[in-house]
Symmetry: D2
């Protein structure tokens, strides 16, 4: 049991809103991208990855977003459909936009970077009118991604979705997902993150992302309890602050502080850990599990994804997560490092 | 007495934030602008006009805004200073921007229009960092103007100012002041007007402006009570809805509905009525007068301004307002129409 | 007689192409614009002024350009029509653009400056398709203004007009008219000025403007003869280089160097001198006068305009020019300085 | 022997100017891109391909262009260096731009398409100051590509390079290379193609590209002789008009019309044929071969490239071209279709 109450009798368990892009992962790993030759194409983008993760975990999942009117956009929609995601809330953008690209470079398991193509990305063309009130009203939960706040009209579409969600009691989860390259300034980021966070039930981010939101507060002590506490004066009931290898902490409006567990992994790359974590965690919350168990499933999912070459394609099923937890618990996990 | 509590012991009574521009009013009235030959230059822009009105009424008044680095920008700052307005919160914009212009055309007292020059207007370059927390914290009241929400970074500067005002108990008044030409879409307008209004203590606008804010609500009955009531769930305590010649109505969180009075006028043009109304009304509220009396002073101020050629330059002193009310009450007002 | 051969049997003597704007001249002169109060509205813009000057001198004159779809644009077209200029080649721009404005500040006769409003100016929206081949083919001469090269699509419209003019033997005159504020870089200016000048029969500019065109030539000696000589390898037959108070010099393909005369003036402001000079000079060339006499009429026209408050409205008739020359020659000119 | 005279004693035989990009060729061919999974990365872009082709044929080759400050940009420069191309004229662009991408889709040998990423492409940021006069002065030949004319400041850089080339007698070859997606309008294209072509010694394009240049000429008969003839009034000495499978025709200022030969190929895709043709043809011209033989080597090179998966990487050496010609002439060529 947790402190959220998801509305019953809704057609969809979960909707993600925002960007769905393409990852081009270098097949030749452990070298700079100047020296890589071939790339494999995957669906990518944080909300897309989380939606895929949720569908794999058995949730009735939908997606709201714009995709480009080309082969890349159609590839994304088809991949979603093959994974059982409802795409009736997706719009094909007018010609002229492209699908965002992320070329990943894996120099070592600790030195990964991304080369982004985000100019004229179709996902940021999402318009307020694209968001159907009835679609939001028919889901138990809505996930918004901070990147969707980076530009108009996608920014306004997020605020309209938030308004519909609050009106209809759809639980709103905010994955901060801060990507500096699409923002005009860090002040702009802080303004819109704060406006959005004030309307969300669950806020999930790294310590650095929360710092970013507090850039107008001078002399901030960067205290997790303080950071989380502010949002409980608004609509938040759970705030999760992630500290990378130092673990993650969930705070509740009721005053609890829950430390998350971690699982070992044979790390290929670090990308995708957060998305897989979010899927596992949110799945647990919707199932009505307590927060600690939800965090555990999130952490196991993260370990699975970082042990694989892709993000989206490696999202685990519920059985895979439970097997992984069992394996780790059994002491039979073999580290390859 | 009214239902607002203005903090005591503040250096400034009132700050307006937003655009300060130049009006170029045709001297030859009652003809189309194609046939006008000479123009007189005045300071203009709704928040600038209100600030001037407040200073004339004896309030300690400040202004937050950017002006262009040229003769027009310096003209505005000098005019403010001559009117006793504190300009320490004003910033000279970097080169490349201009002062917004409004050429007024007065074909008849009922047929007035404006030709705007608003590209690269300095006022919309106001940045979040331009808004000093201590400046907002040292004022009893802050007026924001809807036009300042029309573009980044001015839009974000407004939200930062709202955050500071709420933090420090500065009473926030929102003059909707909707000007379609600076907005990308009516949906964008609705989104930001709603986000801002949720943080304001007093909201003042025309029925059409409130309709604009409700554009995402289908089947709206356009009922003033409904419209006002929504905002009392947030921070609002007073909502004023203006119906042009059919008068204005103030609604309070406590459930009152107060109809405003009107005064006769020998109308030259209709511009500036709303700004003069706002100054007279807000002055009354800060003085602690009841709402009805505050509305009366606002209405008298409006009648004075529309009887003159300019907006800003015609803003009345307290004595002029009271004389006008007395004149009208005495039955000695002479209509020239 | 001069070295140009204007085609006979054409409906129009002269077409100017480019910007037609509005000047707002401060009525209170000899003070900074911060302290001016009223402005008088005139048609302005170099090619517009020259067209008005040509019409006043009795030439059958047309104009190719876009004007804004508002009162300012209609004012320009009506003024042209009242001056007998053919406006069939003028296009009303789509909504969204404005008429360029020039606020003039006359601190003293030697210290004049201009505050420009040129964002989204309608004249720079002139498109290649706006230029009718038959219209160019029916004129003896075409004047292009350098400012029209500052931005697309006006830039391309100029090159299309040049192509039509060369194809049909219409004599092309290039008034350099360099205004830095509309150009992205001085290198961009040099590139397009050089491309255009290579196709012109007559090139008129100040020494500084020709320097600007030579910015890719290092170690240039800034020698008028060298500068003029380059263009005779292309299509030029006359190059006029103006040195302000030090007079102007015309160079011909045949190797002549003709020094212009000057006339006294009771100077109000310096604006408009070049445009009036161009009108007087080009009128003479089309009449078949020799270059020296054409320059004399240009110089007298310039002196008349700088003695008046406006540019366009002060453009003299042929009788006025001849009276002015006679007055100066008679020794009865009275200097008021 | 041909009708061009290449200057002797120059450090470089050939410079190409313009875009150097990345091709991502689907490894799974004969299917739509929605269904392709992996891509191989190659250097691409017409002038880059031609430069690589020239270097393979043994020419001392240089390149003038901007590349992005990232892994893609460094990949291009390193590939050039490995192929012996002088990169001293290449500039690393400031951060914020990207390398243009071309995802190729090969549905069948006759149905190939490209998905382009060209927003903020570094190559179009080439500035006039990037073009060193001495670098152009030290080459026998300069190739410009029409795509470099598509946007400022690259457009102006081309005109500056043309000016330097004409000044120093560097032979200029113009590969029309028209790509509609980077141009604002077809009229803009026609204007700048015509301005550039007037300054070139050799013009190479498809019939459709020449039609594009003639869009201002109504009732054009689309006659190759007429099209080529126009340019001989300017600086052109050779004009090559390509008709796809119907062969190509070279026209000379001296009045010759030379029909090109073609060679069989086991076609994988059609991309790169034109670039390989250009390299083979221009190599012959610089060697002083007659036009017919130069065209033959171009045609053989084209057949070699379209039989391979890549464009740049498949550019043949002189020995490979001569072997291919010999193979075809011998009758031993085996068609696999």
């Amino acid at each position: 049991m947790n402190n959220l109450s998801f509305p019953a009798g809704r057609a969809l368990d979960f909707i993600a809103l925002g960007r769905a892009c393409v990852d081009l992962n270098a097949n030749e790993i452990h070298r700079p991208m100047e020296d890589t030759v071939t790339f494999t194409k995957y669906v990518g983008g944080s909300p897309a990855n989380i939606a895929i993760g949720m569908a794999r975990l058995g949730m009735c999942t939908g997606f709201v977003g714009r995709v480009s009117d080309d082969q890349m956009g159609r590839f994304i929609v088809r991949y979603f459909e093959r994974n059982g995601i409802d795409t009736s809330g997706m719009i094909t953008d007018r010609p002229g936009s492209v699908t965002g690209l992320a070329f990943t470079e894996i120099k070592s398991k600790d030195d990964c970077s991304i080369l982004m193509y985000r100019d004229h990305a179709a996902d940021l063309n999402l318009e307020p009118r694209d968001v159907e009130e009835s679609y939001i009203a028919n889901a138990k939960a809505l996930l918004i991604s901070g990147t969707a706040l980076a530009k108009s009209p996608s920014r306004e579409a997020v605020f309209v979705a938030l308004q519909y969600a609050r009106k209809h009691g759809t639980v709103v989860l905010f994955d901060l997902d801060y990507r500096p390259y699409t923002w005009a300034s860090s002040e702009e980021t802080a303004v819109y993150y704060n406006l959005a966070a004030a309307q969300c039930d669950v806020i999930i981010g790294t310590r650095e992302e929360f710092d970013q939101m507090e850039s107008f507060e001078r002399h901030t002590v960067k205290d997790d309890g303080y950071t989380a506490g502010k949002w409980f004066d608004h609509h938040a009931r759970i705030v999760v602050i992630k500290h990378g290898k130092d673990g993650s902490f969930a705070f509740t409006k009721e005053g609890e502080r829950i430390e998350g567990t971690t699982f070992p992994a044979n790390v290929v790359k670090t990308f995708g850990a957060g998305d897989s974590y979010a899927a596992g965690f949110i799945h647990g919350l919707i199932q009505g599990w307590d927060i600690a168990r939800s965090m555990e499933y999130g952490a196991a999912g993260a370990s699975i994804v970082i042990s694989n070459h892709s993000c989206s394609d490696a999202m685990p099923t519920l059985a895979q997560v439970e097997d992984y937890i069992a394996l780790c618990r059994s002491g039979r996990f073999v580290s390859q490092s």
